[in-house]
């Protein structure tokens, strides 16, 4: 009797549980799990539009001979190799400065630095385009100060276009990462720093040898999320270059290439799915490497 009731109760709890998570599970299954497997399936098919036929690893072979893919891959790697370390370092330094209670208007500074990541993407892209145009305010200022002799082609020269993309994503996401560091820093016992001060540990060493190692888990987390973000970089490039990744593919990223393969050119779903899996593999590989590099050796 008791056992039967217990079983009934258990079943009722089980059912309730499933009912609670059911809608989410269904949505995740339809919009996440299914596409993952569907795209894996698609990546073995080649062809334009609906005319697809099984190609085995044909798409993977095509990757190697596709100069556009290779330049998108190179650009993406350049973006994350250059941008992530710059942003992480900058965010750490800003957090360290803004963790000082003696600083005046600290709330204002914290808000100002965090604000970019909640501003409208399109609005800021349009602004950046205007500011960095050949006769924009940036060139005008640089000319006025005398740093440059001729205007920089921010949107027309391959090198400077990359710099602009890196600048804009750094501007947008540094504050976001800084908040993580600031939160973590405020959890560090102040007396650790006081002990270090009394013991004569210089300020740079307190930052480099105490703060940074103590923030290791957060730094690892933000490095991985930033790396993934940069590998999936799409919005900024799309908005700054009218979806072309120009000039001459110099800012074309893998995500933008996938978009173009699917929606801009004659649709090539199978090949686009294969490129998507390149991102998946890179994210997995880099995350593993970062975890491995940051593991606790004791």
């Amino acid at each position: 009797m008791t056992i039967a009731r217990a079983n009934g109760l258990k079943r009722s709890y089980d059912l309730n549980g499933w009912l609670f998570i059911g809608p989410s599970v269904a949505l995740i299954a339809i919009y996440l799990v299914y596409p993952i497997f569907r795209s894996l399936y698609l990546s073995f098919y080649a062809g334009k539009g609906m005319m697809m036929k099984f190609a085995g690893f044909g798409n993977v072979v095509r990757l190697w001979h596709d100069p556009v893919f290779l330049s998108a891959l190179t650009n993406t790697v350049v973006f994350f190799v250059v941008q992530v370390p710059i942003m992480i370092t900058l965010a750490l330094m800003l957090a360290s400065v803004l963790n000082n209670d003696r600083l005046k208007f600290i709330g204002l500074f914290r808000t100002a630095i965090f604000l970019p990541c909640v501003t409208s993407l399109v609005a800021y892209s349009v602004l950046f385009k205007s500011m960095f145009s050949a006769d924009g305010v940036v060139n005008a200022s640089l000319l006025a100060v005398g740093l440059i002799g001729t205007p920089i082609g921010w949107l027309t020269e391959p090198f400077w276009a990359k710099v602009l993309v890196i600048l804009s994503i750094t501007w947008r996401w540094t504050g976001y990462n800084m908040i993580f560091y600031l939160a973590a820093m405020q959890n560090i016992d102040r007396s650790v720093y006081e002990a270090a001060r009394i013991d004569g540990v210089p300020a740079w060493a307190r930052f480099a040898r105490l703060t940074v190692p103590m923030l290791k888990p957060v730094i690892l987390f933000t490095t991985i999320t930033s790396t993934i973000g940069t590998l999936q970089l799409f919005d900024e490039v799309y908005n700054l270059t009218e979806g072309k990744g120009g000039p001459s593919d110099s800012t074309l990223t893998l995500s933008l290439y996938i978009y173009n393969l699917t929606f801009r050119y004659m649709p090539s779903f199978g090949y686009a799915a294969t490129v998507s899996y390149v991102i998946v593999i890179m994210v997995a590989l880099l995350s593993f490497l970062q975890f491995y590099a940051a593991r606790d050796r004791s």
Partner: protein, 362 residues
């Protein structure tokens, strides 16, 4: 020359005065304990000596030199924190040797000092562990070791035992006392625990609201408190205070009658001019100083409420009058438990008299 000398030291946060003029001289090798209730400014005072808080006014000398504006690392001090303040990502050995690297000390010398300190503190087997793998007492020993390796002129301890459990606290208290004996160094130690203060100190500084209430050797403070606050703070259980009135005052002596039992009268010394007939005063007597009825200078009848038996000692909680509670300590007194009347003796030589402002009358 004093190891540490404070002259009219003051600290204010805005308009709020935290330390209101402290004068103190600490001799070389002396173990000085700052004690007082929370918020009395004892930690702030210690942090001012350490250089972690600015000094608003007054003068701080360490080893004869004025240290007011000197960087903490240049003051010749080392500090042990309540939270241990160990570097969580470093091993015990690294924790102890870390700061020395920046002082330009050779690697071999650092190793020697760290090993010496580890030997002194019995940390030998733990040198390659990280703080999270240590118990509270071990962490505190590492923190002390980190202070020792710097070979400071003055050690500062900020409530170092507060995070430990009762048993470990007693153990570490003994360890610190032994360490002081061995190192013969000057120690300033902050605690709110008067037992720690009594057992460790050569000299106790009792603080209240940023003012030094009394400075003295532990037993001097116990035997001869300067005021009601010190009398109540030093000693456990705390001193009983009974409201009383001065019945008569003559040259050097007063007759005091308890407010609630006017028949209980005591003859006590009082310097001329310190008290006059009719003054309201407080009569202080420690729980351990009551004697058997008839053997004191006056008998006090009380209503027993509760008795606590600790084996060797019993604490009797009793009322002199409704709401007027006294604690009476009795040795080996298991029978004095029953509720009801109890008569105890008051020895005049063990009683203290305080005026209505809490100042001692003697």
């Amino acid at each position: 020359m004093a190891a540490v000398e404070l002259t009219d030291l003051r600290k204010s946060f805005g308009t709020l005065d935290i330390i209101k003029g402290v004068d103190l001289a600490i001799d070389p090798g002396e173990f000085v304990v700052f004690v007082g209730p929370s918020g009395c400014g004892k930690s702030t005072l210690l942090r001012m000596i350490a250089g972690l808080e600015d000094i608003t006014s007054g003068e701080l000398r360490i080893g004869g030199e004025v240290m007011n504006g000197v960087d903490p690392s240049q003051r010749g001090i080392a500090m042990v924190f309540q939270s241990y303040a160990l570097y969580p990502h470093m091993t015990v050995r690294e924790n102890m040797g870390f700061a020395l690297k920046f002082a330009g000390i050779a690697r071999a010398e650092i190793d020697r000092r760290v090993d010496d300190a580890a030997g002194t503190l019995g940390l030998g087997a733990l040198m390659d562990r990280k703080p999270k793998a240590l118990s509270g007492g071990q962490r505190q020993r590492v923190a002390i070791g980190r202070a020792i390796v710097r070979d400071p002129k003055v050690f500062l301890f900020d409530e170092p035992l507060s995070n430990l459990d009762a048993e470990l606290r007693v153990h570490m208290r003994v360890e610190i006392a032994k360490l002081h004996k061995r190192l013969q160094s000057t120690i300033i130690y902050v605690t709110h625990d008067q037992v720690e203060a009594m057992t460790l100190a050569d000299k106790i500084v009792v603080l209240r609201s940023g003012i030094v209430e009394q400075v003295g050797r532990p037993l001097d403070l116990y035997d001869d408190p300067a005021n009601m606050f010190v009398a109540g703070f030093i000693g456990s259980p705390k001193m009983n205070f009974l409201p009383a009135r001065i019945e008569a005052a003559e040259a050097g002596r007063v007759t005091v009658a308890l407010a609630s039992q006017p028949g209980v009268r005591l003859d006590l010394p009082a310097a001329a001019g310190t008290a006059k007939a009719g003054d309201a005063v407080s009569l202080g007597i420690r729980p351990e100083h009551f004697v058997a009825a008839g053997t004191g200078d006056a008998d006090l009848a009380v209503e027993v409420d509760v008795a606590e038996h600790l084996g060797s000692t019993s604490y009797v909680y009793a009322d002199v009058a409704p709401g007027e509670r006294v604690i009476i300590q009795q040795e080996e007194s298991r029978h004095a438990t029953a509720r009801g009347r109890l008569v105890v003796g008051l020895p005049a030589e063990r009683c203290f008299l305080f005026d209505d402002a809490g100042r001692r009358i003697r």
